[in-house]
Amino acid sequence: MNALEVRGLVKHYPGVTALDGVDLAVRPNEVLGLAGENGAGKSTLLKALVGLVTPDAGTIHVRGEQVKLRSVVDAANHGIGMVFQEQSLVPNLTAAENIVLGSEGPAVRRGIYRWDVMRRLAQEQLDKIGSPIDPLARTDSLSFADRQMVEIAKVLRIEERSQHPPVVILDEPTSVLESKEIETLFAQIRRLREFATVIFVSHRLDEVLDVCDRVCVLRGGKSVGEVAAAGAVPRELHRMMIGSTGSDDHYHGSAATTVVEEQPRLSVRGLSGASFHDISFDVAPGEIVGIVGVHGSGREDVCRALFGAEPTTAGEIRMDGTRIDLPSTRAACAAGIGYVPAERKTEGMVGALSVAENMTLAKQQARCAGPFVAPKKQATLVDSWIRRLSIRTPGRDTPIQRLSGGNQQKVILARWLVAGDIRLLLLDHPTRGLDVGVRSEVYRLMRELAATGVATVLLGDSLEEAVGMADRILVMNDGRVATEVPCPTGAKPTPLDLVKEMV
């Protein structure tokens, strides 16, 4: 008997059919992968399984029995729980409270907290996954990876609720993790499999094949096939996802610019701040420099400091030989520096504003005639970039929050390109959450920009990405540059070489 089965699930949104008759069967104690392009319907399907989306047609069966899932609580009572794509813990509560949140059971009697019971309940969940964290620690004092453990522990709590082996759904849990943390997570997933069923979504196909037993592929809201993970290769999955073979050269290495030795575009000397010290490096025009390091290595802060978003205490920054001061992001912007933050939803885009407004936010002059916005100029400009980057949007006036993540990311990249005056681009996890196809497009775009002489600093979404894209890699460790590794096409270091320096 299948742990979970979906038959002919349909979900329409105004103008979109998110699910178009999906069938899916999940066997007990397997790890099932779910792959598909951005917008293929993965999240919608999963949300239907935890009662957050009510399907228009089709049925859901849990352990052979047809069920109607009306809410998260409903789903939990049937033993289904989900770790959401954006972390969903209450930061100012303790880990224990988060774990039992919504199903406190004996930990809260008549509205009164019994902290010792709560601690015990939480500890039981944490023990299942062997996490050593203190249940009474405040969640926002935990590391990112630890918080993810808390999320898993929280989902496992449904086991007690339903008296059945749980089904644990993980929607893109790795997109925000470092490789080391991903390893830990995978170890957890393998452990979970002993007593639970897991559904796992990721855009990193190698990962999917690594951890899953079986992978189902969605396209346009339909199931288009499945593969057994053992022996399968990412290319095969990719082909099923987009219906044709992708390019061999994922990182467009052939388009890599040959960097000529000349005056560096960016030159950083002895830069220090709260979480980084004495950072020095150069980036030549057209060069892509990757910075790798674990969480807390300070690389994000270096990146932000170069954009005037983080104060520095010492050191100097030169652009094309001229010393510049970066008291604000505005100053950085004016100096021809662009920044794509990792947190797209909260720091990258202004959700309620339109595509056009988001795209022109940094470079207002590009849509203005004098001090005034020129609607025609804006329309032409924005539409041309929508076309150039094949951004899928109903129109330039659509609020950006209605676009899929990949398309949102393209708009944010376009933001720095519209004026044509960009000299240095700082990319913090620019491909986070993007499907392989879109990712490849982003890489191509980076190559094109490099070819026009734009210098790029890249904090890759994965080590592979950094290695694949960068001409040179800085390894940061504990706020300092540990080493610098050349990374030319054809003579790339292996990720393992870098990891040694990172820890």
């Binding site: 954009f307 912007c333 720091e347 309620a352 407004e357 022109t360 916005v373 129109g395 659509t398 933001r415």
Partner: protein
């Protein structure tokens, strides 16, 4: 900016909600007292509403940026004192001088908010207390009479015999702010700041300047409101406008501008100010007894906000 393209009829309706609320209120008052709907009466409402409209319009910018300005009324009171003190010497120049000083005071609060990183609620609450104290001291704790009010008298005239100059001025202020926002990048900057300050900042938006600018305009508007009050009252006083704070905030919210920032407009505040004014003067005039007037005022304001707020723009209401 022009999200009109994809607007559904229901969404378009929410844009008109403040006007619908206004019309409903006029209708209700007219039913309660048919004499209320006379030309003279409506002209009086327009004249009465002028300072409130100006105050609310200025403060709307601060609210759109995600902050709040609690000092506007105290600043307006202080400005009436300055104006009354300066009119004898500066004559016609007193008006621009007062507006400039008020703008500067607004800007100083903006700078304090931005540099010290204190919530605008607290900065302007402190500002309110400080400005009140200054007004009390500067005025010698008393009314400053304006003997020759000719430099501000124009505000008390009627254009074509019908349109109060103060109301016309208020309308112009609203229109100017609205048009400037519409045709320049300011609108994007302000809403980006209000919706998501960190995203705005990381897109190179001059968030700090935008906020300081908003406080500055809010201050200037308080100054102009003070000029209107002096022209109507022939004097300045250290507490003269103090009671306009909550009505001004109510006007902004009743107009449907989100108190959390980002979504809204000065036009909405114009409608909101008229609603609030109608409630303030209309209820007692049509004969609602004092105690019931307060109860009705409270209830109607809440219902009006329930009507005008466009909930699709704000997911969580705090």
């Amino acid at each position: 900016m022009s999200t009109a393209v994809a607007m559904k009829p229901a969404q378009r309706l929410t844009g008109f909600m403040p006007l619908i609320a206004l019309a409903a209120l006029v209708a209700a008052l007219t039913i309660a007292d048919p004499d209320f709907l006379t030309q003279r009466s409506l002209i009086a409402v327009a004249r009465t509403a002028a300072p409130l409209i100006v105050l609310a319009a200025g403060a709307t910018l601060v609210v759109l940026c995600g902050g709040i300005d609690l000092s506007i009324a105290a600043l307006a009171s202080l400005s009436t004192v300055f104006l009354a003190l300066w009119l004898p010497n500066l004559g016609g120049l007193a008006t621009p001088a007062v507006i400039a000083v008020a703008a500067a005071i607004g800007a100083v609060q903006g700078v304090a908010h931005v540099l010290l990183r204190i919530p605008s609620f607290i900065v302007t609450l402190g500002g309110m207390a400080i400005l009140s104290a200054v007004a009390l001291v500067v005025s010698g704790a008393g009314t400053v009479r304006v003997v020759d009010d000719s430099p501000v008298h124009w505000l008390d005239l009627y254009l074509g015999g019908y349109v109060p100059m103060s109301a016309a001025t208020a309308l112009i202020v609203v229109a100017v702010i609205a048009v400037v926002l519409r045709v320049t990048p300011l609108r994007s900057w302000i809403s980006a700041t209000g919706y998501s300050e960190s995203a705005a900042r990381l897109a190179g938006t001059p968030v700090d300047l935008v906020k300081i600018g908003a406080f500055c305009v809010s201050g200037a508007c308080a100054g102009l409101a003070a000029v209107m009050l002096v022209s109507r009252q022939f004097s300045g006083g250290p507490t003269m406008a103090d009671n306009l704070l909550l009505p001004a905030v109510a006007a902004i919210v009743v107009g449907g501008t989100a108190i959390t920032g980002g979504h809204g407009s000065v036009w909405r505040s114009l409608a909101g100010a008229l609603v609030v004014t109608l409630l303030r003067v209309g209820l007692p005039i049509v004969g609602v007894p004092s105690a019931y007037e307060q109860i009705l005022y409270g209830a109607i304001i809440v219902v009006a906000v329930a009507l005008t707020l466009d909930r699709s723009k704000v997911s969580i209401v705090k």
